[in-house]
Symmetry: C2
Subunit: 416 residues, 2 copies
């Protein structure tokens, strides 16, 4: 969360006290919470939306912004990223594409371990400098809130360093960052499994919780990472320290991760390419958000698709995310994920928009402040050079973002 | 092809006559024709590359451009687009994603027929205004040469109109455009099949050839489009008028299109998701380029993959393209196709770079002037904010293009 936004300049003498600072008119559509509205204007005072309705009932405004038929949406929310890291894995990507197995790459010191070594070796300042352009790219997609995970440090000091980077980036960048502790990403090479889990639960969690460096605690449930019992132990310990659970679940194989997420009341279960039917029902009953990451399967060359249609049809809120990370999805293009959400996952245009606004906000605990255009909410807004919400996913791989506002202030593009 | 480029200002008195206009130094890599070279500088005089080699042997230059570790490649070539069209099919995309079959969409008047009606109704000026931003987006990917097809007019006057648009856009836009006549895209609704083919062969082809409006003649070989005998008739008629053959082959089913392409000596066979083993051998023997369009399968939600590895391994030059069109791949992001070429098709970084440079140039008959960085060739160059050619496909869905030069002149970004 940001420090309190500075207030805009006071109204000129003679202006009514209720005057708006900004009034957005002429939108082709105003999309929020599953509905595309036409003939609607949006008024902003200070950092907040204060009016959504017909133009003729809107208060006077000091500045009227004509959207000339563009699309107005809530600022987008990217609910699952690993965007703080050093080094890259372009060479490994080339090896995988040429047929080398992930196991063989890991055996040669690749995979998460490669990024862990580079991230441990980097200073806070270096990590910040590397992450800034990634945040700028997200902003260019219309993102105003993003989750960022630790998980490349894997020692108490290095996990804490990563989360310090998130805190400092949050303070300086227009995007609001939500921090998740992912000490249980993998057991670092050469470390005893039991001792590592003891350190996660007994050292890292209390330290990070006390410093207020994370809101969420995540575990990677997968063969080669952590099993259900280990994941339960970490998430329950996190809960004890006030960190809400998230789960990397059922990505490469059906492992009961979704069921665990539901059991511990996780706010989200992420990936889910191999979720079981029981798992879908469990998420629906628990009100857990399904965060789907179709870019990862794509980048990995897999035909896997999460059962988005079944999830949505059984009442699970479906979110979409970039999964931005150096190994399995080196992308910051959240708009591309809208297209994959339709083409690969069978969602509708309104569903993919909800998946990066209202449902994504819920997946990161920001349902009260992000993801909706409504009076009383922060004026986080994105404007796109497309006529309707259906045209946003239709633009495959392009960035039609015209402007982005955070808390009533234009943050993209910025004056040169 | 462009009109002759204007010459740069003459050298100042006292400068040697052999001085360069531009010298690109400091590239992380100079990539051309399958090879990434380090420690190499590139010198330009007027519109042409005149020096590639070590810095210490380079002639003096009036302007030295330090690439600061960026990647220098040939200007990219997009060898297969349908980017002149009116209307859009965003609604149809939503219907398909929701499960409506293409057949049902066609029955309701959708598909190519929808774009045909909109394109027929649009003026030359409207079509140009709609196509300009698409060309600008290609330029932003580093593209300096692109092929554009007709095929949404489907009457003698409307096919000619589309190709007039291509000619006028070629004259005004920095990207060199290569025109292909695709009258045999589909039989327009309500028109007798035999009479339509007679019109393609007897009216459109001679008219377009006489006006010099196309270099290539293409046919769509597919169930519901044209069969082998019909395709052969059109392509042989095209050859008679000096138009070199291209074929839309084996996209949705194995139909012998690749074999036909080889038989008529086509410069390229495009799509090929369902090419037979015999077809691969035929292309190899004929020297026909395989133009692969992985964005189309992706956008259509299909798991189909062209056998790129088998094609490359048996000696077929493999090119990649956007297939930019309103129905099956609404994308102008050629860099995204590099990522899909690796992740979906198993090509290597050097192969995907060759696929949008040297092989793509050959696929559009520009092998003598485009797709390579070598002395004597036009200075069509792209500069990317990545350290090596391996990092270009690794950036999934992003546009790290820093600058583009066409015939020695910077054309992206341009001064505001």
């Amino acid at each position: 969360m940001k420090p309190t936004q500075s207030k805009p300049a006071p109204a000129e003498p003679g202006e009514p006290a209720t005057a708006l600072d900004l009034l957005f008119v002429g939108a082709g559509e105003v999309f929020s919470d599953g509905a595309a509205r036409t003939g609607v204007v949006v008024g902003v005072r200070g950092a907040d939306i204060v009016y959504v309705g017909p133009a003729d009932a809107a208060p006077a405004a000091r500045e009227v912004i004509d959207l000339k038929g563009g699309l107005l949406t809530p600022g987008l929310v990217d609910p699952h990223t690993h965007l703080v890291f050093a080094g890259d894995r372009a060479g490994e990507y080339a090896e995988r594409s040429a047929g080398t197995s992930y196991l063989e790459i890991a055996r040669r010191g690749g995979g998460i371990a490669r990024t862990m070594h580079a991230t441990r070796a980097a200073s806070v300042e270096t990590l910040m400098a590397l992450a800034r352009p990634r945040l700028d790219q997200l902003l260019q997609c219309g993102v105003t809130t993003a989750e960022v995970k630790s998980g490349y440090g894997l020692t108490p000091a290095d996990e804490r360093k990563m989360l310090e980077v998130v805190r400092r980036l949050d303070a300086e960048h227009p995007i609001d960052l939500v921090a998740t502790f992912l000490g249980a990403h993998t057991v670092p090479p050469g470390v005893d499994r039991a001792r590592y889990l003891d350190a996660v639960v007994g050292e890292m969690l209390p330290d990070i919780a006390e410093a207020g460096l994370a809101e969420f605690c995540d575990v990677f449930i997968e063969k080669g990472a952590f099993d259900i019992a280990e994941g339960r132990r970490v998430l329950e310990a996190g809960l004890k320290y006030g960190l809400r659970p998230k789960v990397h679940a059922d990505q490469l194989s059906a492992g009961g991760g979704a069921e665990l997420a539901a059991e511990v009341g996780a706010v989200s279960a992420d990936h889910l390419e191999h979720i079981s039917s029981t798992g879908i029902d469990a998420l629906a009953a628990a009100g857990t958000v399904a965060v789907l990451l179709p870019g990862a399967a794509m980048f990995l060359g897999s035909d896997d698709r999460a059962p988005a249609r079944a999830l949505a049809d059984r009442g699970v809120p479906v979110a979409l995310s970039t999964d931005c990370n150096p190994g399995t999805c080196h992308s910051t293009n959240l708009l591309l994920m809208l297209t994959l959400g339709m083409s690969r996952l069978g969602l509708t245009p309104a569903e993919v928009l909800d998946a990066v606004t209202v449902h994504a906000a819920r997946a990161v605990g920001r349902e009260a402040v992000a993801g909706r255009i409504a009076p009383g909410r922060p004026a986080d807004l994105a404007i796109f050079d497309v006529a309707t919400h259906r045209h946003l996913p239709y633009h495959f791989g392009m960035l039609p973002t015209r402007a982005v506002y955070k808390a009533g202030r234009q943050v993209y593009p910025t004056a040169a």
